[in-house]
């Protein structure tokens, strides 16, 4: 093949970029399992001379995050407690909305959808002040419940977008046939739409899970020490100016914060990519 040298160059470039994308992950991984002085003495890129899990242990249950030396464990749990209900509620609502907006259309529904969709794109700074007030009003300030509420409110736009795009490709004749067969609004949804929604439900759940788990702004704005999510705790750990910087602990903590979403990405990458692509409105 005459293209041989060109192919080699091609693979070389692609390989180089693999290294580029993997580099930070490598740095985090190797430095999370080596003693601190190996890092501070300029050995960041090297494999550990002494392997140790102490930084992980430290980050998980001992490190000073905020006022108490609790490690990241309670915050990891906070994130889980926040993510699971928020994702569930937003997905269910999104599925119902998508169903109405595609199978029970009415005059003006596209405009309503457009108005909902705009909620995906607003800079959340615009809602921080009134939301802080409202959560106080609802007695949800500084609680995991408050964060769940906020994430549901601003997650609906996304889940509605996903389900609307998916259901608009779902044959409306099926819904009409079911109607003639005597099925009502919810029966049709439950018996006809839901059993055929597997892929988009996965896409939507992954997207919401990733977004809500990774959120920082709402967590930083609306939580207190008892309800902080993982991202906020990690940032506090890394930014804290007291004492010596324990880089290895920081890296271990960062990997912990990344693990759930990374796990989802590895297991269901295909759906993750589809979720990203659905950023275009028509899907």
């Amino acid at each position: 093949m005459t293209l041989r040298p060109a192919r080699i160059l091609l693979y070389a470039i692609l390989g180089l970029f693999c290294l580029y994308y993997l580099l930070p992950l490598y740095v985090m991984l190797v430095n999370s399992v080596k003693p601190l002085q190996e890092i501070t003495s300029g050995g960041m890129m090297e494999l550990p001379q002494v392997w140790t899990l102490a930084p992980w242990h430290n980050a998980w249950s001992q490190a000073q995050v905020g006022v108490e030396a609790t490690g990241l464990k309670p915050y990891f749990l906070n994130s889980l407690l926040m993510v699971v209900p928020a994702v569930t509620i937003a997905t269910v609502l999104g599925a119902l909305n998508g169903y109405v907006l595609t199978k029970w259309r009415f005059r003006g529904d596209t405009i309503l959808f457009g108005l909902m969709l705009f909620g995906c794109f607003i800079p959340f700074q615009i809602v921080l002040i009134p939301m802080a007030r409202s959560l106080g009003f609802l007695n949800l300030s500084g609680t995991v419940g408050g964060l769940i509420f906020v994430h549901v409110v601003y997650g609906i736009s996304f889940s509605t977008l996903y389900f609307r795009n998916y259901y608009s490709a779902f044959p409306t004749e099926l819904v009409r046939a079911a109607e003639i067969d005597g099925a009502g609004f919810f029966t049709i949804f439950w018996r006809i739409l839901v059993p055929n929604s597997g892929p988009i439900a996965v896409v939507c759940v992954i997207w919401l899970f990733t977004n809500i788990w990774n959120d920082f702004l709402f967590g930083a704005s609306f939580s207190d020490f008892s309800s902080q999510p993982m991202t906020v705790a990690l940032n506090n750990l890394v930014q804290s100016s007291t004492g010596e910087k324990e880089y290895n602990v920081h890296f271990a903590g960062a990997i912990m914060a990344a693990l759930p979403t990374l796990f989802v990405y590895i297991v269901a990458g295909r759906f993750f990519v589809r979720g990203l692509m659905s950023g275009s409105v028509k899907g």
Binding site: M44, L101, W104, F118, N214, F216, A258
Partner: protein, 298 residues
């Protein structure tokens, strides 16, 4: 004639139920998106300091805002960051997509590697790059350790250069996504047309330049919209990587808003800055949504 009964309860329900189901979500969006936008808009014209206050001060907050040096820095930074971020991501994404589209072995694996940063929190990305770029332990220290003692790379500590470290980390995180967008666009192009072009005598380069890339317009558009709105909203990465520093050197509108509203007790000015952010995003998003949805209307 046949009797004409009034619509049954069931018939009425058939019309009403869908709207009933939609209405809680609509109410939430109406209140928590549009109501809150209205509230913040009002605050931006008020004399709010630490707490919301409702004294009308007209455009005073905006005047103050535009005279602030920190806002000036924030806007300049956003411009630098936004432009570089969008341009580099698009270029890199397109290039990688085209390279990956050459029937590459292990394409799936490579794609996975390019895209995984998108699954990470910006805080995680920030931590990784913060220490990697830190001259004390990161790249510079490593180079010194390896014997290149004159090597210097301390952008993250440099007032003039720190903003570019944010570009580096953000591009690392998102370029894989842009690659995936373009790759999907490439895969959507009719392969018979490409065959026709080859029969017409076009070489690989000409095929891409004349036929493929012009057809990627929708992919460019959606990549642009996503990147632009991510750039304007980016907050976490700046906080984690530089926390706006050194000094205020990497302040952007989002960090500006946060610090004026919640730490400097200048809520009116904070609200005004949020307003500017919203308008900037709206200028990009509304035309996009409009063009995407208008064929759908009925």
């Amino acid at each position: 004639m046949a009797a004409h009964p009034a619509p049954s309860a069931r018939a009425r329900l058939r019309v009403l139920l869908p709207r009933l189901v939609l209405s809680p979500s609509l109410a939430l969006v109406a209140f928590f998106v549009y109501g809150f936008i209205a509230f913040t808009t009002y605050l931006s014209f008020s004399d709010s300091k630490m707490l919301p206050s409702y004294g009308w001060v007209g455009f005073q907050n905006y005047e103050t805002l535009f005279s602030l040096r920190m806002w000036d820095i924030a806007v300049t930074n956003l411009a630098i960051f936004g432009i570089l971020y969008i341009v580099i991501c698009s270029f890199l994404g397109l290039m990688l997509a085209i390279l990956l589209d050459q029937h590459i072995r292990a394409e799936g694996f490579i794609r996975t590697v390019y895209l995984y940063p998108m699954a990470l929190s910006f805080i995680v990305t920030g931590v990784a790059w913060k220490w990697f770029l830190d001259p004390g332990i990161g790249l510079e220290a490593v180079m010194h350790d390896w014997g290149w003692t004159s090597f210097e790379f301390r952008w993250i500590k440099d007032r003039d250069m720190a903003i570019y470290t944010i570009v580096i980390a953000a591009v690392w995180q998102t370029s894989g996504f842009v690659m995936a967008t373009f790759l999907a666009g490439l895969r959507g192009i009719d392969s018979e047309m490409l065959k026709a072009a080859r029969v017409d005598g076009a070489g690989t380069f000409a095929v891409y330049r004349r036929i493929v890339i012009p057809q990627l317009r929708p992919a460019f558009l959606s990549a642009f919209v996503v990147l632009a709105h991510m750039a304007i909203k980016s907050y976490d990465l700046v906080v984690a990587l530089t926390n706006g520093g050194p000094g205020n050197a990497t302040a952007v509108p989002s960090t500006f808003m946060y610090s004026y509203t919640f730490t400097r007790n200048q809520m009116g000015i904070g609200a005004a800055s949020a307003e500017i952010m919203l308008l900037t995003i709206a200028a990009v998003i509304i035309p996009y949504l409009w063009s995407e949805l208008k064929e759908d209307k009925r």
